[in-house]
């Protein structure tokens, strides 16, 4: 396809992305290099209902506004935000590593740093949920494909439920069900003969619960994509493979899977990315004490009650993108040749 035709076809898409994603991303990347101006603080008397009057510090709005007007981006800080305690924490890491504490203690101390703690859960979640949910989705797709035609619609609908019911309510209801007084929680206590078992108290159980919930909500996506992919598997190839004596498993292995491969790459990339940005389950399951993620750090920085930490959120976002890219490199490398440059 000549460049001109190509451009004509893809231009609307590119413009939308440039305007609403690329431009903000650039400004976010720039923002992450700046911090706020030194605030000009003044003492003032504050009187509040019932509490009486106190002398408190306050930001001198006019003086600060003037500085901000002169330098709207803030104070240049280079990669200062990236390396500070709440992010990559180079200084803390340096201190921990140089104090020769032995492997376990070093690891434990690094794990105490907020960014690395979030990173460990984020990675664990993304790297377990993605493959497991994809396998489950693929098997469901194969099984549903064999269901009688009349039942397919309802079966697909119910299979999609974990994905389509908004996580706002989905996680609330599931959370209530696994509560000690909820139906699943009570059932688990009954099965394990442990009336004090709680899925919410220990870190391990919280992680397992979050990962199971993740697989449950992610599997339908893989299922639908694979299911539609299965519709395009040429049946004459399947038949000739059968005539050649290929077993059922061999047919799946050598005919079905290769046809679905481009889709599988797509699903892997999308799922990996989405799971790397895990946020809703942590909030829905009130799990922040035992599991935090990078997106949760961003959420906290932006939902600060009085001053949003834009630079901090921007830096964590850039680090998230970097993390996603690193995670995807193997997948991309493997497919770059066959995918990118096939004529």
């Amino acid at each position: 396809m000549p460049h001109r035709t190509f451009l004509a076809f893809i231009l609307p898409s590119i413009v939308a992305m440039l305007l609403f994603i690329a431009t903000p991303i650039m400004s976010i990347a720039v923002q992450s290099l700046y911090i706020e101006h030194d605030k000009i603080l003044v003492m003032s008397e504050t009187c509040q209902p019932l509490g009486g009057c106190v002398k408190e510090t306050r930001v001198d709005a006019e003086a600060t506004a003037k500085i901000r007007h002169d330098h709207p981006l803030g104070k240049f800080n280079g990669f200062g935000i990236y390396t500070d305690h709440n992010h990559l924490a180079f200084a803390d890491i340096g201190k921990i590593v140089t104090s020769n504490l032995g492997f376990n203690e070093t690891a434990a101390r690094i794990y105490d740093l907020p960014f690395y703690r979030a990173l460990v859960f984020t990675l664990t979640y993304a790297l377990t949920v993605t493959p497991l949910a994809m396998c489950l989705g693929f098997v469901i797709a194969l099984a549903v494909n064999a269901v009688p035609k009349l039942l397919k619609g309802p079966v697909i609908f119910f299979s999609l439920l974990p994905m389509v019911v908004t996580p706002l309510i989905g996680s609330l209801v599931v959370y209530w069900m696994i509560n000690a007084d909820g139906i699943l929680g009570a059932a688990i206590q009954l099965i394990t003969h442990n009336p004090d078992l709680s899925l919410k108290a220990s870190p391990t159980m919280t992680w397992v619960t979050l990962i199971c919930y993740g697989i449950w909500t992610n599997a339908p996506f893989s299922f639908v994509v694979f299911y539609s992919g299965l519709q395009t598997v040429p049946s004459d190839t399947l038949e000739s493979a059968m005539i050649d004596g290929a077993s059922r498993l061999q047919r799946v292995r050598f005919v079905v899977i290769p046809t679905l491969l481009p889709l599988a790459v797509f699903v892997t990339l999308v799922q990996l990315m989405d799971n790397f940005r895990v946020l809703e389950p942590i909030i829905g399951f009130n799990a922040a004490a035992n599991a935090t993620s990078l997106s949760y750090s961003i959420f906290i920085a932006l939902n600060n009650q009085s001053a949003q930490l834009f630079s901090s959120a921007a830096a964590t976002s850039v680090l998230t993108i970097a993390g996603v890219l690193i995670l995807m490199t193997p997948v991309l490398m493997k497919t770059a040749r066959e995918f990118g440059f096939r004529t």
Binding site: F9, L168, V265
Partner: protein, 293 residues
């Protein structure tokens, strides 16, 4: 698909049926539980005493005299005018789907038919775009949108959702288009069609499974979005999910959880129709493809 390749031994049929049943139970149980509970009062469905209250409706009988109550639905639909949000959501989801698919099929097709190196880079960059957490992007939109006076309107939210959804749509449609033999549109070009005609007349008919599937996801995105719509829309233009979230608890105050539950149950019903349609089109698209391919 009643070809010999799909005939299967009995044992396999049983295993696969059993598997589907187990999966359906897992997938649907929480939802069915929610549907059941939506007709109870809060003290039953979210009982801190025992889950059996939700089953027998002890408190529901105490409070309303009946084992089932429609008070959640009444509260959501009549008192809180949930239908307004439903209309807004219908507009947003439909527009997002149509625009996303229009832009996406054009772009995805072009990507699948070009041999130049930049195609790879466009796809990779689109991927990077998608890796950006939505919440950061949205908080960056606020000030410019307020200044341009475009904050709060449905078209703004729609365009933002389309843009955010574009990388996904492009990738997904590209993956489907790549599988379609090039000979199909090349022969159309030889027959004297323009590129666009070849795309519309030769490629699109066999593309239905891909387009329908991508459309389903675009629709669900518009339907289920919270990050964008909760921040970019005024109260009159609010869509369903932010509205549902406003029913829930907040720090220091009680919410109307049962309104939220009832709203979610009723919000899911239209999806049943949508998915039935989706599944039928999928099969129809398949036959069209099989004839021409």
């Amino acid at each position: 698909m009643s070809t010999i390749a799909n005939r299967r031994p009995l044992s396999l049929a049983i295993t696969s049926t059993a598997f589907v049943l187990v999966w359906l139970a897992l997938a649907a149980f929480p939802y069915i539980w929610t549907v059941w509970g939506s007709f109870k009062v809060e003290a039953d469905f979210f009982s801190r005493e025992t889950w059996q209250n939700a089953l027998f409706g002890i408190k529901t009988i105490q409070q309303t005299g009946e084992p089932f109550t429609g008070s959640g639905y009444y509260g959501a639909w009549i008192e809180s005018q949930f239908w307004r949000s439903v209309i807004n959501t219908a507009i947003v989801a439909t527009c997002v789907t149509t625009i996303s698919l229009t832009l996406g099929t054009l772009g995805g097709y072009a990507l699948s038919r070009t041999a130049y190196r930049y195609k790879f880079w466009i796809l990779i960059i689109a991927l990077v775009f998608r890796a950006m957490p939505d919440i950061t992007l949205v908080s960056g939109y606020l000030l410019p949108f307020f200044q341009l006076n475009i904050w709060g309107y449905l078209p703004t939210a729609i365009i933002v959702l389309v843009a955010l959804n574009q990388p996904f749509t492009l990738w997904m449609l590209y993956s489907f288009f790549v599988n379609i033999p090039k000979e199909l549109d090349e022969s159309a070009l030889v027959d004297g069609c323009s590129r666009f005609q070849a795309f519309r007349l030769a490629v699109m008919p066999v593309m239905w499974p891909g387009v329908i599937t991508t459309g389903l996801f675009s629709f669900l995105l518009g339907y289920n979005d919270f990050a964008v719509t909760s921040m970019l829309l005024t109260q009159e233009n609010q869509t369903m999910i932010p509205k549902i979230s406003s029913f829930l608890f907040k720090i220091q105050a009680e919410g109307h959880v049962m309104y939220a539950v009832a709203a979610v149950v009723s919000a899911t019903a239209p999806l049943f129709v949508l998915i039935m349609f989706f599944q039928r089109q999928l099969v129809a698209g398949l036959t069209a493809g099989a004839v021409k391919g």
